[in-house]
Amino acid sequence: MNNELSAIEKTVLSDYKYGFVTEIEADEAPPGLNEDIVRFISAKKNEPEWMLEWRLKAYNHWLKMEEPNWANVKYEKVNYQEIKYYSAPKQKKKVNSLDEIDPELRKTFEKLGISLDEQKRLSGVAIDAVIDSVSIGTTFKEQLAELGIIFCSISEAIQEHPELVKKYIGSVVPITDNYFSALNSAVFSDGSFCYIPKGVRCPMELSTYFRINAEGTGQFERTLLIADEGSYVSYLEGCTAPIRDENQLHAAVVELIAMQDAEIKYSTVQNWYPGDKDGKGGIYNFVTKRGICQGAHAKISWTQVETGSSITWKYPSVILKGDYSQGEFYSVAVTNNHQQADTGTKMMHLGKNTRSRIVSKGISAGVSNNSYRGLVHVGKNAANARNFSQCDSLLLGDKCGAHTFPYIEVKNNTAVVEHEATTSKIGEDQIFYCNQRGIDTETAVALIINGFAKEVMNQLPMEFAVEAQKLLAISLEGSVG
């Protein structure tokens, strides 16, 4: 027992390796939120009039809304007047090549293990890196442009492709959707934009890397991804933040649009700072992610590995509007210490012969709480809709909790919907089996957890899967004896 405790302490103290702060001079807005701040952000970005109007509309709507409290999480409410809504690494002039980027910044990304160097082509991933609030560089832009793929920061897209942004922004997540999406719409400062033209199969993984650096800031990024008819794209997203005592807010919005026959694969490895072992500090991760299968035979697949954040509140959803469209959701959510996660998905079956699949694996340790909250809705006209959901929970320790709230609403009699869920702990017989074969308990636990999460891990692109597996081991190291 003593051993076990010290093991826990050891890991807790040594765990979060991305917790450093980079000393970069930042261009910031004063804390607080009012109409002027919204105008300030818009002006900073040199945005057209329609964008400012859109933001102000969102802001005015946000004022009328109340912060939701239905989720199974407890936290100290955010004071929205104490947050800085804009913080950008200060730069003298516009950068033309990545060599001109602040060396401090480059070091940050090297520490994070992200190659911004175009030379490192072997990694074969195009990255858009967002620090605090702004995108600082996008790699492989030219090669992608040759295929007609637009991959840039959203501010750039607003300048250069206003017709696309104007048409699609807010079309999947309207500004009135929820409290946090309205807030995001008003103050989002950057994010990624991607457009894949008709019939193009994107030759490499596209990736965004988010990092909160400055103190007292919130990060509000916006991702808009459009896959036109018959195209394919695989998109990755990663996040980290420094260790700070106060809670920081992250309220992002991601919108995916898949036209006829298009396919989008969106993978996230979320590793925001989870707070220390007493639950102090950490990121509030209140994110709205939604995709729409606009045309027939479209497919959207969400894969997420959630190990960070003190509070996670996130439901990547798919609206299956086109006939024969498909939605998938694969998730591993790990909570340790005082972390709380309320995550899941929504599958809205509207078109005929639509299919969806949900695989959710929750792992709770310490005194954490892990909830799956999902909705499968089959509309009146969604003939022959098919859904299969599976939610498994693994409990490590006797002080944590696992919760399942699956809502299933079926209004069509030709639909077939199945849901199953189990909750268990790692069996003594399983550990004994491993011990017998010379595998120590710690490794055995890691082995079993990896097996438990394998179905989801298999969905991740290779480079990500390796990282995610390590992350899983680090997050839970020492929490089982």
Binding site: W70, H403, I408, V410, V416, H419, A421
Partner: protein
């Protein structure tokens, strides 16, 4: 005047607080009703069931003169096997001793008002209203606010009640819309065994709304079976709460059969408050027309080493709607819990819909819990198999559905009742038992 205002006025006409042993609990419930109000669909537990309209219409909350119900009326609603049963009759929510028959000796049935003052007063004050810990809404509070008309049933230590207890809830809606609030507290002592069968009937063509609460406390080594049959007409709606608290290692077995034509909301709460308890919950619903069935169940594993088993099956035809919400709580100390839950639905028509939410909340690690739910239609291959052997489509369908219902029917351990329910279901499915 809105009906709720009328009900509140009726409350104020009742004897003042403190005049009987139930005053305090009644006042508390009345205050709770005033704060919470009647639940709307914004209330998470009432998301799919609307009852607000029953409080916008005029419903009379009065005791029909018991003599208005004759023995002929009663014989029309009697369940098979009544000759060998104890019969408790409630008219418009009030106990009618002159129509009730107690065949088993040593069975105590008395008004709650009396039980709250005599030798049972400790039991009553300890257990009455326990369901409100689990049902945080005005509708439960409404029942408790009028608890003075309730009945207390006591099964003494070691008593094996051979004759089942049939409870008839009769609403006389021949002259006006009626609100009935039958209320019962049952105490099953150590080593006792008892079986309950409960039914609901509305006479006449006016509307009825029944707000039923029965609380059953079971001591150690006792066995309790409880069957609820809902076959009431389309102008009869009800919220029926069954709250079972197992305070010793004991076994309970419940089956809910819903063949109602109106709106029915069932709350079934089972609290496993001692080690080594066992609870079995079964339900079948077959809905047609515009009917609405809502089954909310809670199984609270508060102590270690308990086991619960839950299976609800539903068939939804025409424009009917079905709601299932099964909650399983496993508290921090409830290690070695085994909890299983399953909900299966068949949608038979285009307009039918179902909303289901099997919910698990687990705070202990050494547990085995699983839940599952399915929604689908009849298996094409099975239908084809039968049709290729010369069975008509209609017969093949009713055969399959009857087979679907069998799992639950088999759980009714009282022969006359099982045969009766089988007959009712077969009639609905146009299935020939022979």
């Amino acid at each position: 005047m809105n009906n709720l205002e009328y009900i509140k006025e009726r409350f104020n006409q009742l004897p003042a607080v403190g005049e009987n042993g139930l005053g305090v609990i009644r006042q508390k419930a009345f205050d709770a009703l005033n704060t919470m109000g009647i639940p709307t669909t914004r209330h998470e537990e009432w998301k799919y069931t609307r009852i607000g309209s029953f409080f916008n219409k005029e419903f009379k909350y009065t005791a029909a003169h018991p003599t208005a119900i004759t023995a002929t009326d009663l014989s029309a609603v009697r369940l098979p096997g009544y000759e060998q049963a104890n019969e408790l009759v409630y008219i418009n929510g009030r106990y009618a001793p002159e129509l009730s028959v107690l065949r088993s000796k040593g069975l105590t049935v008395q008004p709650l008002q009396e039980a709250a003052k005599n030798e049972y007063k400790d039991l009553v004050s300890k257990h009455l209203g326990h369901s409100s810990d689990y049902l945080k809404d005005g509708i439960n509070a409404l029942s408790t606010a009028f608890v003075q008309d309730g009945v207390f049933v006591h099964i003494k230590k070691g008593q094996i009640v051979e004759h089942p207890i049939y409870i008839y809830n009769i609403t006389d809606a021949r002259e006006a819309n009626v609100l009935a609030q039958p209320r019962t507290l049952v105490y099953v002592s150590e080593n006792a065994q008892v079986k309950f069968v409960e039914t609901f009937n509305t006479l006449g063509t006016q509307e009825s709304f029944t707000n039923r609460v029965i609380e059953i406390i079971v001591e150690k080594d006792a066995i309790t079976e409880y069957y609820k049959l809902q076959t009431d007409a389309s102008h009869a709606s009800q919220v029926a709460t069954t709250h079972i608290r197992q305070i010793g290692k004991c076994v309970t077995h419940t089956v809910t059969v819903s063949l109602n034509e109106g709106l029915v909301r069932n709350n079934l709460n089972i609290v496993l408050d001692e080690q080594y308890c066992e609870a079995h919950l079964y339900g079948i619903y077959l809905q047609q027309g515009q009917s609405h069935i809502d089954n909310h169940t809670v199984v609270d594993h508060a102590q270690p080493h308990c086991e619960s088993n839950e299976l609800y099956k539903g068939m939804l035809d025409d424009q009917s709607t079905g709601v299932f919400n099964g909650k399983i709580f496993v508290r921090k100390d409830a290690q070695k819990t085994n909890a299983y839950q399953s909900n299966k639905n068949v949608l038979l028509a285009e307009g039918a819909s179902v909303n289901t939410k099997p919910q698990l909340e687990i705070f202990a690690d050494d547990v085995k819990c699983s839940h599952g739910c399915t929604i689908g239609r009849l298996d094409e291959e099975s239908l084809f198999y039968m049709r290729s052997r010369g069975i008509t489509e209609a017969t093949a369908k009713s055969l399959l559905l009857h087979g679907f219902a069998m799992d639950i029917l088999e759980q009714i351990k009282l022969d006359p009742i099982r045969e009766y329910v089988d007959k009712l279901i077969s009639e609905r499915l146009e299935f020939d038992i022979a």
